[in-house]
C-alpha cells in the first residue's frame, strides 16, 4: 500500500541535510510553499542552495529562509523586486552567491533535469552577458547557447489537492513552477490544501501524476498573501 501523506510539515523535511540543494516553487507569493519553508527554518540545515524564480518577498517564505542565514547560494531569474530587501542586503554584504538565469532557461533547465535531457541549445540569452563563456552554436540560421540541467535533493512545492499516491492538482497561477520542479528532485514534497481519497481526482485533470511526488501534507485552504 502506497501512502505518501505525512501528518505534519516537520516530518516532511526532517532529513534535509546541510549543503542540500532545494527547488522551491512559487512565482512571488503564488505557489510559494510557506509552511514547508517554515519547517525548513525550524530544522535549520545550513549552506543551502535554493533554486527558485525569485529570492524572497517581504519577510516571509524564502525571505525568512534567507534571513535565517541558512542559504549559501540562490539560483533565480528575478531577485530584485520592490520587496526583496532581505535578499538585497545579504547580497550586498557578500553573504549570498547569486546565479542569475533567464526565467525560461530556468524552467527548461529544471525540466531537463527531470526529463533526463543532458543539455539543450536555447536561443534565450544568446549574445548577452548571461551567455558569457558558455558554448554557443548556430543551428538552422539561429544562434543558441548550451544550457545544462538543474536537479535538486529536495523540491518543496505547493499544490491544491493531493491523494495518497501523490497525484496533484494546482490552483490558478499558483501552478507555475510546481509541476516541473516535482520532476527534478530526489525527494519531492508537496503541501496541499486538502488530501482527498484515491479516485477523487479526475484522471484527465491530474497535473502532476503521483510518480513525481514522495511526500505530501495537508495545510488547509487560503491563497497566498
Amino acid at each position: 500500500m502506497i501512502d505518501k501523506t505525512r501528518p505534519d510539515t516537520r516530518s516532511c523535511v526532517a532529513d534535509i541535510p546541510d549543503g542540500a540543494t532545494l527547488l522551491v516553487g512559487g512565482f512571488g507569493g503564488a505557489g510559494m510553499p510557506h509552511e514547508l519553508i517554515e519547517a525548513v527554518i525550524a530544522r535549520a540545515p545550513r549552506d543551502l542552495t535554493i533554486i527558485s524564480n525569485n529570492a524572497g518577498n517581504g519577510t516571509t517564505g524564502l525571505a525568512a529562509l534567507l534571513a535565517a542565514g541558512l542559504v549559501r547560494k540562490v539560483v533565480c531569474s528575478f531577485p530584485r523586486q520592490a520587496d526583496s530587501f532581505v535578499f538585497d542586503q545579504l547580497y550586498r554584504e557578500g553573504k549570498l552567491e547569486l546565479e542569475l538565469v533567464p526565467q525560461g532557461n530556468l524552467v527548461e533547465r529544471i525540466r531537463a533535469g527531470g526529463a533526463g535531457i543532458g543539455a539543450f541549445f536555447t536561443p534565450t540569452g544568446y549574445g548577452t552577458p548571461i551567455a558569457a563563456g558558455k558554448e554557443t552554436r548556430q543551428i538552422d540560421g539561429r544562434n543558441y547557447v548550451l544550457e545544462y540541467p538543474l536537479k535538486a535533493d529536495f523540491a518543496l512545492i505547493k499544490a491544491r489537492r493531493g491523494d495518497r499516491w501523490g497525484n496533484l492538482t494546482y490552483r490558478k497561477t499558483a501552478r507555475n513552477f510546481g509541476p516541473v520542479m516535482a520532476t527534478a528532485a530526489k525527494v519531492t514534497v508537496a503541501q496541499v490544501e486538502d488530501i482527498v481519497p484515491l479516485g477523487a481526482l479526475d484522471p484527465e485533470d491530474i497535473v502532476t501524476p503521483g510518480v513525481f511526488v514522495d511526500r505530501l501534507v495537508a495545510i488547509g485552504t487560503g491563497a497566498a498573501q
Binding site: L100, Q103, G104
Partner: protein, 219 residues
C-alpha cells in the same frame, strides 16, 4: 526650427499606450511587459478580441479585480492581482515559456533602456555596479515573440537619446525589436535603419533627428 520644437508637445504615456493598442490586430496574442507597457491594457479596443499572455501561466488574462475579487493565486508577471477572461486557461511555466520561446506570441511590448539601430534591446540592467541584476522573462520574450514592440520615452532624464547606434547597457536580445513607441513618435526598425512612422503634431523629422541625435529617416 527651434520654434517648431517649442510648439511641440510630446505624447503622454497614455497617448503612447493608446497608439500601441490601436496597432494590435484583432485576435493577436500579446504579452505586456512589466512597467510602462502595463498602460496598454487600459486602451485595448473593445471591438477586438486580443488575448493577453502572462509568463506565469495565463492565456486570456483579464483586467484588475474589484477589491472583493482579489485572489493572490491569480496574479500577473508584476505580481499584481488580475482576473481571467471567459475562455482563458492556466498552465505551468514550462508550457508558458514554450509559448514564448517557440514563437507562438504575436507581440511582446517591452520597456527599454536602449534600442539600437539594428534592433538590439537593452532593458534589464544598467552598468551600475551596485545594482542587483534581475532578468525574469525579458530575454525569452525578446528572442521568442514574433514582434517585439518597445514602449519608452525617447530621452533619459539626463536628456540622452535611448535610440542608439550600439547599446552600451547589457543586452537583452540581439536584433529583436521591430518598432519603438516613444513620446516623440513611432519609429520602425528596418534593414535601412530607424524609420519614422508617425510623429506627434508639431514635431518634424529634422527636430526629431536633432533630439534623438541619430539618423531617423522618413517612411
Amino acid at each position: 526650427m527651434s520654434e517648431i520644437a517649442t510648439a511641440f508637445k510630446p505624447w503622454t504615456r497614455a497617448e503612447m499606450a493608446q497608439r500601441i493598442a490601436a496597432d494590435i490586430p484583432d485576435g493577436a496574442i500579446v504579452n505586456i511587459g512589466i512597467g510602462m507597457p502595463e498602460l496598454v491594457a487600459d486602451f485595448l479596443p473593445q471591438d477586438k478580441e486580443i488575448l493577453l499572455h502572462s509568463e506565469n501561466g495565463i492565456l486570456g488574462m483579464g483586467p484588475k479585480p474589484s477589491p472583493n475579487e482579489v485572489d493572490y493565486d491569480l496574479i500577473n508577471a508584476g505580481k499584481q492581482p488580475v482576473t481571467l477572461l471567459e475562455g482563458g486557461a492556466f498552465f505551468d511555466h514550462s508550457l508558458s515559456f514554450a509559448m514564448m520561446r517557440g514563437g507562438h506570441l504575436d507581440i511582446a511590448i517591452l520597456g527599454a533602456f536602449q534600442v539600437a539601430v539594428n534592433g538590439d534591446l537593452a532593458n534589464w540592467a544598467t552598468n551600475d555596479p551596485n545594482a542587483i541584476p534581475a532578468v525574469g522573462g525579458a530575454m525569452d520574450l525578446a528572442v521568442g515573440a514574433r514582434n517585439v514592440f518597445v514602449m519608452m520615452e525617447l530621452l533619459t532624464k539626463k536628456g540622452e537619446s535611448k535610440l542608439v547606434e550600439h547599446c552600451t547597457y547589457p543586452l537583452t536580445g540581439l536584433g529583436c525589436v521591430s518598432r519603438v513607441y516613444t513620446d516623440h513618435g513611432v519609429i520602425d526598425i528596418t534593414p535601412e535603419g530607424f524609420v519614422a512612422r508617425q510623429l506627434p503634431p508639431g514635431l518634424d523629422l529634422d527636430a526629431l533627428n536633432q533630439r534623438a541625435g541619430i539618423a531617423i529617416r522618413a517612411s
